[in-house]
């Protein structure tokens, strides 16, 4: 039962991350500009880096939450 719930939690995490990322990509279309005209404080976040951060966030959640559920069930 614990393992099944851990797997279900993993699926929910992946789905939610995918949905949020897709919504973000759809909304940011046309709002990405070259670094040269960026007058913000940080110019670190590009589309590629945001995607990498989203993947890292997904992996961290996939490692922690299902592991927590399966281990402590």
């Amino acid at each position: 039962m614990g393992l099944a719930l851990a797997i279900a939690a993993g699926i929910v995490i992946v789905l939610l991350e995918f949905i949020l990322w897709t919504l973000f990509r759809r909304k940011i279309v046309g709002l990405e500009f070259p670094r040269e005209v960026d007058a913000s404080v940080f110019h670190f976040f590009s589309g590629r880096r945001m995607r990498t951060l989203a993947l890292i966030h997904t992996i961290i959640l996939l490692v922690t939450v299902p592991f927590f559920i399966a281990l402590l069930w």
Partner: protein, 190 residues
């Protein structure tokens, strides 16, 4: 958000007229994300502490109570994480774009908001800068209040607000000179 390629060709965005020349754009100051990040970290630590106390001790020996607690803690943890992720994405969906003729404030959220407000620079009667408190003055961010005849646009958490204030004043004068130099009136703002 920046693109991965460097400046190549004209920059365009929704609501831009062909004759407008892109000057610069910016997001809000990073301090907008500081409280959501701090809150997420504190809640995560709190949840870890509660999990440790409840699940390692003798309090929850009954399997049903234990399972319910584990599920409840997991759901709360995920809610906290995804709430911050949503705020993080929303930060990049709020930006101000300045061209040689207009200032555009674009405010979107992931689901329910998609606003764009544009104001001609040449009609701006007053451009006021506001910085209050140690944090705003120390970190260099503040509010710009742009007033036209019947409209006021307040833009908060502007990074390097002093510099933006000077640049907008300069662009307004340039826009007015350009307007005086051309025979036909500029197109109306949307």
């Amino acid at each position: 958000m920046v693109t991965d390629s460097s400046l190549l060709g004209p920059i365009t965005f929704q609501g831009k007229y062909p004759e407008e020349k892109f000057q610069f754009y910016f997001h809000q100051h990073w301090i907008r994300l500081l409280w959501p990040l701090t809150r997420t970290l504190l809640l995560t630590l709190l949840l870890i502490g509660i999990s440790f106390v409840l699940l390692s001790g003798p309090l929850l020996q009954e399997p049903a109570a234990r399972h319910t607690t584990i599920l409840f803690l997991a759901v709360i943890f995920l809610f906290v994480q995804f709430e911050f992720l949503e705020k993080f994405y929303n930060y990049f969906l709020y930006l101000v774009i300045v061209t040689d003729r207009r200032i555009h404030r674009i405010k979107k959220t992931l689901l329910v908001t998609d606003d764009q407000q544009s104001m001609d620079l040449w009609v701006l009667q007053d451009i006021n800068k506001s910085q209050h408190g140690l944090i705003q003055c120390g970190l260099g961010f503040g509010t710009l209040i742009l007033e036209a005849q019947e409209t006021m646009l307040r833009i908060h958490f502007i990074p390097r607000v002093g510099q933006k204030y000077q640049e907008l004043m300069h662009l307004r004068e340039k826009a007015r000179k350009q307007l005086g130099a051309t025979s036909e009136p500029p197109p109306p703002s949307s």
